[in-house]
Amino acid sequence: MGFGGGGGGALPNHEHTNIALDGGPLDFVNTTIASLSAGSTTFSDGNALQELVIGTPAQSLVVNGLGTAPEWITPAAGGPTTAQYIATGASFSTSSVTFVDVTNMTITLPNTGGTLDCLCNVFMSGEIAVAADMLMWRLVKDTTALVYSEFWLTGAAEGLKAGAMSCLCDGDGDPCKLQMQTFGNTGTFRVSATEQTPCLSAFAVG
């Protein structure tokens, strides 16, 4: 039966309420039809119902920027936007009394254009040949030292020592590298396939 009532004559004024003979509530469950596309939702603009056609897969329904209507948006990817990681497979020794680059421990920082939005981490283990010497480590961004650490060792008999350094810096695409030195005896950045896997990593966290 149409809204005309089927019996002829004009449709009398009425509301859709629970009151008998007042039209009753609209049945939205698989009964009422409208000129909408599959998947569409409706909302009011304050004057009339409006159609919001369905979004694309993985989009989310949010309130628009004016706070007046819903809209579909594609959410930004979560988590770190960029990550760099390197783990060398060989030990490196030096007797240098000035900092030298550790082979295969240089990475390129993420290039975000931001300030202090890059987290750098390095895990290292080392040993030294003789007593009364020490291993010194530092992370260098391009030519600027970021963070420093040192191992005091009483000699080779003491075995390996392990440590870590971490810092925030600008994500600007610069090289970031691990350097080491001693006071003039052999120090080793030690890698063991079964026990130690030193690594250098950088994450954009902004």
Partner: protein
């Protein structure tokens, strides 16, 4: 001066491996690599990347007092850094062949 080369050797103890090379260099040439204390001067240094069957060696003998030399980690260019413990080697610089003859 930088001497760079690769040797098909392997080692179980990288620290001892490097010490052995330093001792051979200091025995064969009048170059002071070891520094017993942090105040001693040095004529050079050695760096080794201990890849199995493909050890990479960088042996430096310094050309100027107060100027430390090392290899850039990527470009391999020689980096010069001021260091007052560096003393110029006044002897005759060995050839690459003479350096490699220690093996």
């Amino acid at each position: 001066m930088m001497y760079k080369f690769t040797k098909k050797i392997s080692c179980d103890d990288p620290t001892q491996c490097c010490e052995d090379i330093i001792n051979k260099i200091e025995t064969k040439f009048p170059v002071k690599i070891h520094a017993p204390t942090k105040n001693d001067f040095v004529n050079g240094h050695i760096s080794i990347n201990h890849i199995n069957e493909e050890h990479q060696f960088w042996i430096f003998i310094y050309s100027s007092s107060g100027v430390h030399e090392s290899a850039h980690g990527i470009t391999e260019y020689v980096i010069e850094t001021k260091n007052n413990r560096v003393k110029k080697f006044n002897g005759t610089f060995p050839s690459q062949k003479e350096i490699e003859s220690i093996f």
